[in-house]
């Protein structure tokens, strides 16, 4: 019998059900299945009412009973509770009745949803006595581990592919983390980290700490439900790299029903990928229940995982919730970024372009009916991936500091407009 810690009962293999103590381990010794945290839902239910949650500080920790930290969180207490925007202008352009944007592009402190998972992973790593934290990352996670480790006084090693966007590299270096660029794509970084984690007893947030880490993503789902007035959105569109965020948003909806925060309802959680790295959406379209690994080639580097750890479970979510999955080209990704920016004033990174682009396709195909309502999960900030759009966003027009020059610029615009009418 494993000793309960806080609301956590044990780690449990998702495949064969074997139980393990609540330590830094992520894989079942019997079948290699993923370990997940099991909670004491009865105890959580008695503490988590809508009223008590609403009185708590506006951060992701207002759902602490369903997060895998035994005591008070010590890292990232201010993370989360990002805006949920009613996106009427974008809704009109995509041809849907009602649309919401969950905007983690402004998550604290490093402008991506990764701050959610990292604050959980590092708080838990401290509880388990670790002083060195590490990760394999496509960029955003590295930024978040570096920043949150700095504020907590932990030593960080972050491993990234060596071809990442400059913004994401500088965003890790600035916190004085050990930033290791690997000559290879993310899947190779990930494999190396699994091997390093087998040799060095560090808290690798997405290796041995993964069962705790991944749970942090549920808070995006909890917040969406609360911000919608405590209900599950009919449709949610989520970008997929490993597929973890998507499976955890689905889990948050299930848990919210279980502890009585929302009523049971029909819902679909759809997945979005870049065509240049779309093992999950390809498997969905081919009707497979497992994906074929691919070698990524896309501007959406944050989603460039060719061997997605949760691909199998993402495909299950589509089946269970009557959802769909699709993918978009680099050109459509850029269009998606621009469309979101022009209609809602939100500058998302490439993954956001993927989400908007795929939402457009799913609405057009009827997978998301036009008379329905949907939430799009925007997970990262466009200022970090300027490289992807800088030659596609137009350019400034330069004039002398002269009123005459400005008036002639306006006149030429008018002439141009008249000529093209």
């Amino acid at each position: 019998m494993v000793e309960q810690q806080g609301y956590m009962k044990a780690l449990c293999c998702r495949e064969c059900g074997e139980e393990y103590p609540l330590e830094a381990r992520h894989v079942c010794e019997l079948c290699f299945g993923p370990l997940e945290v099991v909670y004491d839902y009865e105890a959580a239910k008695s503490k988590m009412t809508r009223q008590t949650i609403e009185q708590r500080p506006q951060s992701m920790w207002r759902y602490a009973e369903l997060l895998p930290v035994a005591g008070e969180p010590t890292v990232g207490r201010e993370v989360g509770f990002t805006p949920l925007i009613k996106a009427d202008r974008l809704a009109k352009r995509l041809g849907i009745r009602e649309l919401w944007i969950k905007n983690d592009a402004v998550n604290y402190p490093t402008l991506s949803f990764k701050d959610r998972v990292v604050s959980v992973a590092l708080s838990r790593a401290r509880e388990l006595g670790y002083e060195v934290v590490a990760c394999a990352s496509t960029g955003n996670l590295a930024n978040s581990v570096a920043a949150n480790a700095a504020s907590a006084g932990l030593t960080a090693f972050v491993f990234i592919p060596n071809d990442l966007e400059k913004g994401k590299v500088v965003n890790s270096l600035i916190y004085d983390a050990n930033v290791i660029g690997i000559k290879g794509h993310y899947d190779e970084v990930n494999r190396l980290c699994a091997e390093i984690a087998g040799k060095h007893d560090w808290a690798f947030v997405n290796v041995n700490m993964r069962p705790y880490y991944a749970e942090g993503s549920k808070t995006q789902g909890f917040e969406i439900m609360e911000q919608l007035g405590w209900k599950i959105p009919r449709h949610t569109v989520v970008p997929m790299a490993s597929g973890s965020l998507l499976t955890k948003i689905h889990k948050s909806y299930q848990e919210a029903v279980k502890v009585g925060l929302v009523d049971e309802a029909e819902y679909s959680v759809h997945g979005a990928q870049a065509t240049g790295c779309s093992p999950i959406s390809q498997a969905f379209k081919e009707g497979q229940d497992f994906f074929k690994p691919v070698k990524p080639d896309t501007i959406a580097k944050s989603l460039a995982i060719g061997t997605p750890a949760d691909g199998f479970y993402a495909l299950k979510v589509f089946k269970e919730t009557g959802a769909a999955s699709d993918d978009v080209t680099d050109e459509e990704i850029r269009e998606g970024i621009k469309l979101l920016a022009e209609t809602e004033g939100i500058f998302a990174e490439t993954a956001g372009g993927v989400t908007v682009g795929v939402a457009k396709k799913l609405i057009a195909s009827g997978a998301i009916p036009a008379d329905d309502s949907a939430v799009l999960c925007i997970t990262g900030n466009g200022l970090k991936t300027l490289d992807a759009v800088e030659n596609h966003a137009g350019s400034t027009r330069e004039i002398a500091p002269s009123l005459r020059e400005f008036e002639s610029l306006l006149d030429s615009d008018k002439e141009l407009a008249a000529a093209t009418q």
Binding site: V27, C31, R191, C193, A197
Partner: protein
């Protein structure tokens, strides 16, 4: 020079805490059978009921995933490095 196989943490109880073991097998399927003779029980951890590599196990030969090569038939030769890695990581 034989082939080195790197053993992941979840299997090291079976290999008596050895992190690296050697084999003279000529492909991945044979290497797993060879491991089984020396470390009984290891094969059923790595292969499913139909004899294929489990979906949550990734096997690499010299850093390349065998699913991009010839899966269990992937040839190995002296000096090659084989890594067995749990698939559930990252993202």
């Amino acid at each position: 020079m034989p082939v080195n196989i790197r053993i992941p943490t979840p299997l090291r109880k079976l290999t008596h805490d050895e992190e690296v073991v050697e084999t003279s097998a000529e492909n991945i399927g044979q290497a797993i059978a060879d491991l089984e003779t020396r470390y009984p029980g290891i094969q059923e951890r790595l292969l499913d009921e139909s004899g294929e590599v489990r979906r949550f196990v990734n096997v690499y030969v010299n850093e390349e995933d065998i699913r991009f090569l010839d899966n269990k038939d992937t040839a190995i030769k002296d000096g090659d490095e084989v890594s067995i890695i749990p698939a559930i990581a990252g993202g």
